[in-house]
């Protein structure tokens, strides 16, 4: 069901070539997501439980990734909303789910973690299309406090690699007076819980990007004729596609488990599952999307073609909240030193 809704929105709001990105009605896509209730999945119900599970959020993320949809679902509806909900700022989370305002997250200089202010100088508002403000953390005696930073001043668009997401940069420092605390301080556990969800949905986005890219390449092999036959009949091309498919499916399996784990397992296990998924997805994102460009031959190397839009989104997702290198070190810490 959810999958169909996401696919439908992706179908109408996803680009089929880069120039579509200038003309697509992003506002309409956002309204559809709001109307379908998809922006509300990480708000909390009366019992304080998430309206939608990690699995449901991941399904939507994968669908929008597959469509390369240029709306800030991850930034606003998942990462920011979840952070607000965990901080007990339920009204703010509700407000986002209606779709009229958008908020995203601030990441540190190498995109690998939530920004901690005022320490981090250069920060990025990632997935910030239409966002008025972004959330970051300040370190206090009772743990981390979520703070809101307006994106009006000090932020400028950065020419990021991902053509489907807006990236804003501030070279700081951000004046403490501009930080508005939201909700109550987060426990360490809440923050880890957030990270588990965040890593999982980013992996789901990568999975969507990869699966759609592979599907496009496979479809092309059934249309493109060289030497009087479809190029899909060449074993070399079959093996390229098969290998890319295997890697994408492996990433999907790891991500599906991580998505389930978000709400069902204790936080340490959920986080390990999320890191496992992000490792796998990040590890193969580049190779799979490069393979797709290769299968398209010359046309797949051009700016007008959609292939590199997959590559760019996957490469940026790979960095956000830490690439496979970052995740592997954390996994090793847990496995080898029990920390």
């Amino acid at each position: 069901m959810l999958k169909d809704v996401a696919a439908q929105i992706a179908g109408s709001a996803g680009p089929s070539n880069p120039s579509d990105l200038n003309t697509l009605d992003r506002a309409a896509a956002w309204r559809s997501l709001a109307q379908a209730g998809l922006l509300a999945l990480r708000t909390r119900d009366d019992d304080g439980r998430p309206v939608g599970s990690g699995v449901e959020v991941a399904v939507v993320a994968e669908g929008l990734g597959a469509g390369l949809v240029p709306v800030p679902y991850l930034g606003s509806a998942v990462l920011a909303t979840e952070l607000l909900a965990l901080a007990g700022a339920h009204d703010e989370a509700e407000a986002l789910s209606e779709g009229d305002t958008r908020t995203t997250v601030l990441l540190d200089r190498d995109l690998s973690a939530l920004a901690v202010l005022p320490g981090d100088q250069t920060v990025y508002a990632w997935d910030a299309d239409g966002a008025a403000d972004a959330l970051a953390l300040t370190a206090g005696p009772d743990g981390h406090q979520v703070v809101r930073v307006s994106l009006d001043t000090g932020f400028a668009p950065a020419a990021g690699s991902d053509l489907t997401r807006t990236l804003l940069r501030s070279d700081g420092p951000i004046d403490g007076a501009r930080l508005t605390p939201v909700g109550s301080p987060l426990s360490a556990e809440a923050l880890l819980r957030w990270e588990a969800l965040a890593l999982t949905v980013i992996s789901a986005d990568i999975v969507g990007v990869m699966r759609a890219a592979v599907a496009r390449a496979v479809a092309y092999t059934k249309e493109r004729v060289q030497y009087g036959v479809l190029i899909g009949s060449f074993q070399a091309v079959q093996h390229l596609c098969a290998e890319a498919y295997v890697q994408a499916e492996a990433s999907a399996s790891a991500t599906n488990y991580a998505a389930w784990a978000v709400d069902e397992l204790d936080v340490a296990e959920a986080l390990l599952a999320a890191r496992t998924a992000k490792t796998q997805a990040a590890l193969v994102a580049r190779e799979v999307t490069e393979t797709v460009m290769q299968v398209f031959g010359g046309i797949g190397q051009t700016y007008e073609h959609i292939a590199h839009v997959h590559t760019r989104r996957a490469l940026t997702d790979r960095q956000v909240l830490g690439d496979e290198g970052v995740q592997l070190v954390r996994i090793a810490d847990v496995r080898l030193t029990g920390e």
Binding site: D110, S161, F234, Q301, E304
Partner: protein, 375 residues
């Protein structure tokens, strides 16, 4: 094969090094404007030529110096070591002309090609004829003492800056497809030639599509005999695949130095994995260079390049693409946030290396055939 320089080669190397040190234009690699960088490359071509460094292995009567190809390899190495601008890739189109042209054509076309007065592009591929080049449809119909050309070429790199084109067109539709193709030397300023640049994923207008509408080519500008186009094309791509002929070694060395510099700037040189990765990149470059040296040495002994060019092409694509991966891994988020946008562009520029000049899969097919594997 002796890897040491002979006394003459050593002397040449020393003189060249001194000349390069004095002549390389400062800050040339900071230029971002595409037209300006094309101009710089053309200027560098002429500068090299005036100093006698272009076409060193070409016969004197066609503008060369009649030296052994080893001198080209030395030029490649030293240019790379000293960070010179890219070397002009005159080799592969020049070879086709050199091997198939009439005496008159050679005297007319080769000297300006070597000197950089006239730049060339390669009009082979078409929308429906990529890997399967022999299925090309652009037609050249004989009309008195002219051929009349109609069709569309795709991926004609440098087409927007070129003065001349080595064009393949079908002159006989009634014979098997490899046999009905002829090659032509055509001015890009001829009426009926329309060039439209193609921007690749890097954001650069790397290549172009060219439309040919009733373009008239004098018969004396056909290269080789009618129907000889396929053979000429195969010669051209065989040389195109030799990384030494296109100045690859010099580029690779320069880029590797830059990547080493990036790692140093970021304080990563202490990390063992980074050190190993950089060393691995060096090894890849060396392997490729040495493979090219062997090919050159075979050429010195008179052998034309054969399928072993496919080995070099695959090594070249792997070296170039791995080096860009390494740069990406060192730069981390900076390449994605636009802080190091130039490197993201270089990364996308490295992707088509496994497509043009015959894709990686086609090279493997050629090698399998060379190994006489069952078909």
């Amino acid at each position: 094969m002796d890897y040491r320089d002979t006394p003459e080669e050593a002397e040449f190397r020393a003189t060249l090094r001194e000349w390069l040190t004095a002549t390389i234009p400062a800050g040339w690699d900071k230029i971002e404007d595409e037209e300006e960088s094309v101009r710089l490359r053309k200027d560098w071509h002429r500068t090299l030529y005036r100093a006698g460094y272009v076409g060193m292995s070409w016969p004197v009567e066609y503008g060369g110096r009649g030296l052994s190809p080893v001198y080209d390899a030395i030029l490649n190495e030293e240019s790379g070591n000293l960070g010179a601008p890219p070397l002009p890739s005159v080799g592969y189109i020049g070879r086709a002309i050199f091997m198939y042209a009439s005496e008159e054509q050679k005297r007319r076309f080769l000297p300006p090609l070597l000197s950089g007065e006239a730049s060339w592009c390669q009009g082979f591929s078409e929308p429906e004829a990529g890997s399967d080049l022999a299925s090309l449809r652009t037609a050249a119909r004989l009309d008195g003492d002219h051929y009349v050309v109609n069709g569309q070429k795709m991926w004609t790199s440098g087409g927007q800056y070129a003065d001349w084109c080595l064009l393949l067109a079908r002159t006989d539709p009634d014979v098997p497809k490899h046999k009905g193709i002829s090659a032509f030397l055509v001015s890009m300023t001829e009426p009926g030639v329309t060039v439209r640049p193609i921007v690749i994923a890097s954001g650069e207008a790397e290549t172009a599509e060219v439309f040919w509408d009733d373009v008239r080519i004098p018969v004396e500008q056909r290269l080789g005999a009618p129907g000889e186009g396929w053979r000429i094309a195969m010669t051209t791509v065989a040389y195109e695949r030799g990384p030494a002929d296109i100045g690859f070694i010099a580029n690779y060395r320069r880029t590797l130095r830059k990547v080493e510099g990036l790692a140093a700037e970021r304080g990563l040189l202490e990390k063992e994995e980074v050190r190993k990765a950089l060393a691995r990149a060096y090894v890849r470059g060396e392997v490729l260079r040495l493979n090219c040296m062997e090919q050159l040495s075979m050429r010195v002994s008179g052998r034309a390049p054969g399928p072993e060019g496919s080995v070099a092409k695959l090594l070249w694509a792997d070296a170039e693409q791995s080096l860009q991966h390494l740069a990406m891994d060192i730069l981390g988020a900076d390449e994605m946030t636009g802080v190091a946008a130039g490197w993201l562009s270089s990364y996308f520029t490295s992707r088509p290396v496994s497509v043009y000049g015959g894709s990686a899969q086609i090279q493997k097919n050629i090698i399998a055939r060379m190994l006489d594997m069952p078909r």
